[in-house]
């Protein structure tokens, strides 16, 4: 968790058309800052879970959460406690990889428990999962080799098992 104004919201929504638009539209028109948003189905096909990382610097989290609650399709909002949640993000890096540094890159990937998923003539594509901090550290290291392209999913998260209310 970087800074106290960043919060991870786990939002349970009805799986209906337009819900994502309603949520993203709300953030845009109320001027709330959004760092990342990931959405997918849950164990219940009628529900989706959105993991939204928000920046509550100019707007108190309470106001963001109350406005979200007003959307008819939103069932439940949890502000996840960073000490009591598990969170993961997935990143794909396409990195410059001339023969001279390939071994080095593969070694680096191993250290981060990442995998090489594609090999080109002069590049490697590496898949890595982890917390935002770990992936940031990896990105910083890879930058020295030249990152050609990068894609990340945005964070998904759940409260830890001890908090079985969600």
């Amino acid at each position: 968790m970087t800074g106290t104004t960043r919060h991870t919201l786990s939002v349970l929504v009805e799986n209906k058309p337009g819900v994502l638009q309603r949520v993203s539209g709300l953030f845009a028109r109320r001027g709330f800052n959004i760092d990342s948003l990931a959405v997918g189905p849950t164990e219940d096909p009628n529900l989706s879970r959105m993991t939204i990382v928000v920046h509550a610097e100019n707007t108190p989290l309470e106001q963001i959460s109350k406005q979200l609650h007003k959307l008819v399709n939103i069932i439940k909002i949890q502000d996840l406690d960073p000490a009591d949640m598990v969170d993961r993000e997935l990143v794909l890096f396409k990195v410059n990889a001339p023969a001279a540094v390939r071994a080095e890159l593969i070694e680096l990937a191993n250290i981060f428990r990442a995998r090489i998923i594609d090999v080109g003539r002069n590049s490697l594509t590496i898949e890595a999962t982890g917390t935002t901090d770990k992936l940031q550290a990896m990105e910083d290291l890879l930058r020295g080799y030249g990152i050609r392209e990068l894609a990340r999913t945005g964070k998904i998260a759940l409260a830890r098992g001890s908090k079985e209310n969600g």
Binding site: E14, G18, G25, L26, Q63, K70, V72, I75
Partner: protein, 583 residues
């Protein structure tokens, strides 16, 4: 019973108790227009522009407390409703808008008269629906009315593709809704209610600040009980006008930008701001940092997001105004609470005597716009009257000089400030209250945005009265240009003579009258009010009158321009009467 979607919609509207809807037909809603011909229950008012339909539905909802219903076609029909929907959204007015849509299989192909109206209205509706299967229709209509009318009310839009309206359905109207994510809180938290009562019993200078929430909740009786029990002075916002009788000795006017000085002084000095169904709007608070700084705040609202949004609150109570005010009154009665505001009321009365609302007398034949409103007030106070307004100076003078005695007799565009709202809103109000006198206090600019709706009024025998305060300017724009832009009247000059409003009225077969001197005023107003059909009174008022007093934009509310001279409230505190209270 098997029928098509259009017939099912009509059946659903009948189940909801809808007696009148406002609309305009077009290609894709023809199946629905065909079906409503067979309804014995549904009356349909044909407007002359779809914006008029939404404003009329809005006016109907404000005076009846029931949701306004609109039916229009796709594309331009739908987009023309946008301003009216936004207006209802800002003012939390219950409304259900049905728009036609192109057939489901061509949605997304830029078909003729296609528009993504659910996308367009997403930020200005409480919720909206695109019905893709006729089998969903009954459930969606049920939900739409439920969402529009419960919790904090608002507009809901239902988009109906033409093939859905034609599709076959075995119609059964559901009895309940299934909305797991929507459960408004009505009952206030008991502990918070007790805390509010504690504060009311301790406060020396309490003030009730009541808004539109009191009207939508139907809480005016409880508000009056609380005010009288504890002898609390009451200010009502523009949206709350009528929630408390304005001739009552505890009523101390409207707060904010064009409030009376004594009202704003009272807010600045209060030690307990007891806010009910209000949202601390910027037109009320002026500069937030200096708004009611000496005060604790109790805030009752059914929308939790309003509590603490603009102003930190000491006792937040999420709930319905009627329930919560009732609970507070019960709690105070249980404790045999006694009023202790006698001195505080004397202070306010002293301010009221020294700084009343005031306007200059006209010279010669000059007709003062404030005087016109005062005469409308005098001539209508003994009958059931709805006042609608347009937006601008006319609206602020109506707020200041019309002393409304009853709830739900006021239709004025608050949050959005929509010019052209008044006439169609008056028509909607008249459709809901056939026996009331409905008067639209208008400006010449606003009226021209919607004057075609005179045809609607005439053809449907809705005898609304439009009193135009005709100064030939966009008056409020001109006033700001005079005060803040060095009198450079850029594009705010309309002229008083074009159009000729008397001839315009006559063209629509309405009564048209002109007033050019104060002596003609009562006669013309009386003739209009007695006329059996719609009437337009063109009052040629003095042209450059300003609405005073006025808080400069972004200023503190106790520092007002115009009116009886009197500085910020800190300078008003040195007399003996005040010191007694301040001990």
């Amino acid at each position: 019973m098997t029928m098509n979607g259009a017939e099912a919609l009509v059946g659903a509207l009948e189940e909801e108790g809808v007696d009148v809807m406002f609309g305009y037909p077009g290609g894709v809603v023809l199946p629905i227009y065909d079906a409503i011909m067979d309804s014995k229950q549904l009356d349909h008012i044909l407007v002359r522009h779809e914006q008029g339909a939404t404003h009329a539905a809005d006016g109907y909802a404000r005076v009846t407390g029931r949701p306004g219903v609109v039916l229009v076609t796709s594309g331009p029909g739908a987009t023309n409703t946008v301003t009216g929907i936004a207006n209802a959204h800002m003012d939390s007015i219950p409304m259900v808008v049905f728009t036609g849509q192109v057939a489901t299989h061509v949605i997304g192909t830029d078909a003729f008269q296609e528009s993504d109206i659910t996308g367009i209205t997403l930020p200005i509706t409480k919720h909206n629906y695109l019905v893709k299967d006729v089998r969903e229709l009954p459930e969606v209509v049920k939900e739409a009315f439920h969402v529009a009318t419960t919790g904090r009310p608002g507009p809901v839009l239902v988009d109906l593709p033409v093939d859905v309206a034609k599709g076959a359905i075995d119609f059964r109207y559901p009895e309940q809704v299934n909305l797991p994510g929507y459960r408004p809180t009505y009952k206030g938290h008991a502990k918070q209610v007790k805390q509010a009562a504690d504060l009311l019993m301790r406060a020396k200078k309490p003030l009730l600040y009541a808004g539109g929430g009191v009207l939508s909740s139907g809480a005016w009786k409880e508000l009056k009980e609380l005010a009288e029990l504890m002898q609390l002075p009451v200010t009502t916002t523009m949206m709350g006008k009528g929630a408390f009788p304005e001739e009552h000795h505890l009523y101390i006017g409207m707060p904010g930008m064009h409030g009376a000085k004594y009202t704003n002084y009272a807010i600045t000095e209060t030690d307990l701001l007891f806010a009910v169904g209000v949202r601390f709007d910027d037109r009320v608070t002026g500069k937030l940092a200096s708004f009611a700084t000496k005060s604790k705040v109790v805030h009752i609202d059914i929308d939790p997001a309003e509590i603490g949004k603009n102003r930190p609150v000491d006792v937040p109570i999420v709930g319905d105004a009627k329930h919560v005010l009732g609970a507070v009154v019960d709690e105070l009665r249980k404790r045999s609470a006694e009023p202790r505001t006698e001195k505080w009321m004397r202070v306010i009365d002293d301010w009221r005597d020294r700084f009343p609302l005031h306007y200059p007398e006209g010279e010669g034949d000059e007709v003062m716009p404030e005087h016109v409103v005062e005469r409308i007030n005098a001539l209508t106070r003994d009958r059931d009257t709805v006042i609608a307004t347009e937006v601008g100076q006319n609206q602020m003078w109506a707020c200041q000089y019309y002393r409304l005695q009853n709830p739900r007799r006021w239709a004025s565009s608050g949050g959005l400030g929509t010019m052209g709202f008044g006439l169609p809103a008056a028509i909607g109000a008249q459709a809901g209250l056939k026996d009331s006198l409905v008067v639209d206090i208008a400006g010449d600019g606003s009226f021209q945005m919607v004057s075609q709706e005179l045809a609607t009024a005439r053809v449907h025998d809705l005898p609304v009265k439009v009193v135009i305060l005709n100064n030939g300017y966009l008056g409020m724009v001109r006033q700001w240009q005079e005060l803040f832009y060095d009198r450079r009247y850029s594009q705010s000059v309309l002229g008083q003579d074009v159009p000729d409003f008397v001839k315009l009225a006559e063209a629509y077969d309405c009564l048209g009258l002109r007033v050019t001197s104060p002596e003609q005023l009562d006669g013309a107003l009386t003739a209009a009010f007695e006329h059996e059909g719609p009437a337009v009174v063109d009052c040629r008022v003095t042209r450059e009158e300003n609405v005073f007093p006025m808080v400069a934009p972004g200023g503190s509310i106790d520092e007002m321009l115009g009116g009886i001279p009197g500085g910020p409230v800190s300078e008003m505190l040195d007399d003996e009467l005040l010191e007694e209270v301040w001990e």
